[in-house]
């Protein structure tokens, strides 16, 4: 009986024996040049040279490309100075104090100015929308424009234009756009569209509904500028607007503010396009900066400064700006006085005028500030004394 060692020895010898000598004369393989010892220094020298070349080209490239010389980034210092005068003093013709409730104790929420003296808004009974009403400042008179019986009305403000009031609602997976003459009448659904739902099945609404040229125009959450005649008709996508969002008729921009993504949109509406003519306007960042908070067809701003879209007319803001651009030229500012007080102000970047809205609590025991509502052309807040202050931004900008 053979052991496993014998079998192994036999198998190994047999396998090795299969490699016979073919009798061919063979020469010793020639040496490998790369392994010559005298060249040991070559590799680190080559690596160092390549690194230096890459660094040099990069430095040269980044230092020479671009018109503006680099300047150090500066941390925005909080504005501290004199508080601005109240809005009522700055724009007396644009600030109105009106009743907070309408007929029947309905809560009135101002949405838009039809003229300087007439505004429209929604009314709520028991916290539910029940109608659209107008309010005449001179006569102090509320008038019903249309009742709202559909509870699917979205929480977006109504918009006015061309003698119509328009709004959007949601029902059964569809977005609807409604319109009614501002003088009153029966609301009509002028467009029905498949609603865009987010991944968690939330309704995202209609972005930026507006009325222009006898049409209702808007952008859905997935982009594009659509229009439909106010008297009813076919909904159409305006050619060349895919991916763009309505900013201010006829301007559509990209990229839009988006809170559903996990990163900030650092250059909102960098590209802007006139949807009627195709003319474009691209925004320019300030020297030493690469981002901004918001950018409209004319003005852009970040926390401390505003400038025109082409990068010119830069001006420092008398406070720290927050939020988005309102009506294309207004920003909200946090203002601090040297005594530690803080107030919210609204600033017109075109005229550099600033009006104080209300103080913001900075110490324990300070009164809570009211909620500030911002719509297209209107900002308003409740005074807590049965009235509300409505500021007509269009009138303030004149």
């Amino acid at each position: 009986m053979t052991t496993i060692e014998d079998r192994l020895r036999d198998a190994l010898a047999a396998r090795a024996g299969t490699v016979g000598d073919d009798g061919r004369p063979r020469v010793v393989p020639s040496p490998r040049r790369a392994r010559v010892a005298a060249r040991w220094w070559w590799t680190p020298v080559a690596v160092a040279a390549a690194t230096a070349a890459v660094v040099g080209v990069t430095v040269l490239g980044t230092r020479t490309i671009g018109s503006a010389p680099p300047s150090p980034a500066t941390r925005p210092t909080p504005y501290s100075g004199r508080l601005s005068p109240p809005v009522g003093q700055v724009w007396p013709g644009a600030v109105h104090e009106i009743p907070a409730t309408g007929p029947g104790g309905r809560v009135f929420k101002p949405d838009a100015f039809v003229t300087d003296r007439v505004l429209v808004g929604r009314t709520l009974t028991a916290n539910r929308l029940d109608g659209i009403w107008s309010y005449e400042l001179d006569k102090r008179l509320f008038t019903q424009v249309a009742p709202l019986t559909d509870l699917g009305v979205a929480n977006d403000a109504v918009v006015v234009g061309d003698g119509y009031v328009a709004w959007s609602s949601y029902r059964d997976g569809k977005s609807e756009i409604w319109a009614v003459p501002v003088t009153g009448g029966v609301p009509r659904a002028i467009a029905t569209l498949t609603a865009v739902m987010s991944s968690d099945n939330a309704y995202s609404g209609i972005k930026k509904l507006a009325i222009a040229g006898g049409m209702a125009v808007w952008s859905p959450p997935d982009g594009g500028v659509y229009r439909v005649p106010l008297k009813g008709g076919n909904v159409s996508l305006i050619p060349g607007t895919k991916g763009f969002y309505l900013v201010e008729w006829p301007w559509a921009g990209w990229p839009a503010h988006d809170t559903t993504v996990d990163h900030p949109i650092t250059r909102p509406f960098q590209q802007l396009k006139d949807v009627l003519t195709g003319r474009s306007r691209n925004a320019v960042a300030q020297k030493g900066r690469s981002s901004w908070s918001d950018c409209g067809p004319t003005w852009c701003f970040n926390g401390t400064a505003a400038w025109q879209r082409d990068g010119t007319h830069r001006r420092d803001l008398p406070g720290t700006a927050r939020g988005t651009l309102l009506s294309g030229r207004f920003v909200l500012l946090d203002q601090r006085d040297p005594g530690g007080g803080q107030s919210l102000a609204v600033h017109d970047v075109a005229t550099k005028r600033t009006g104080l809205l209300f103080p913001v609590p900075t110490r324990r025991g300070d009164k809570a500030p009211p909620t500030l509502y911002t719509h297209e052309g209107v900002i308003w807040y409740r005074t807590g004394k049965g009235t509300q202050v409505v500021i007509d931004l269009k009138a303030a900008g004149r």
Partner: protein
């Protein structure tokens, strides 16, 4: 170049090349056979030995011994097996294990082929120890030196490898 350096440097290089030539002429075939047992196929074994000798030029004659060249072949075989393992992992479904020719299989017979297949399935270190011990008849001390293991480790490795072969092949034939 400095004449003195040339005078001093030239003789050892020439002497080294002569030693390399001698080793190649005398032991090439045996080294190819050793490599065949380690990597499994003749083509790879031939390449390994050629490669090893091409790197021996310029070495001092003092280090150029048969045992040194064997260790070089051993190391080169390990490198090849490592490259094969990486390739096999990258191509999961494709196995590039060398296959003996039909002629070789016929020459060896079924029993030996069985043994060699079982040897090929052993871990690399166990296979090396068995080949060095049962093909080259090296002592445990020499095996320890060639494989950079302690002698006790060589013994235990060989013992475990034989046990495994016995388990797989069922003892005597």
């Amino acid at each position: 170049m400095n004449a003195e350096i040339v005078a001093r440097a030239s003789p050892p290089v020439a002497a080294g090349d002569a030693v390399v030539t001698g080793l190649y002429r005398e032991h090439r075939l045996a080294l190819v056979r050793l490599a065949v047992l380690l990597v499994g196929d003749r083509e790879s074994a031939e390449d390994i030995v050629q490669d090893v000798f091409s790197r021996l030029h310029g070495k001092s004659p003092d280090v150029l011994t048969l045992s040194y060249v064997r260790v070089c072949v051993l190391n080169a075989s390990r490198s090849l097996l490592r490259r094969r393992a990486v390739a096999a992992r990258a191509l999961v479904r494709r196995r590039d294990e060398p296959v003996d020719s039909a002629e070789t299989i016929a020459l060896l017979g079924e029993s030996r082929q069985e043994m060699l297949t079982a040897l090929g399935r052993l871990p690399r270190r166990q296979r090396e120890v068995l080949v060095l011990r049962y093909y080259l008849d090296l002592s445990d001390a020499d095996i320890a030196q060639a494989t950079r293991l302690r002698q006790s480790t060589v013994r235990s490795t060989a013992s475990r490898a034989l046990e495994r072969l016995e388990r797989e092949l069922g003892g005597g034939a």
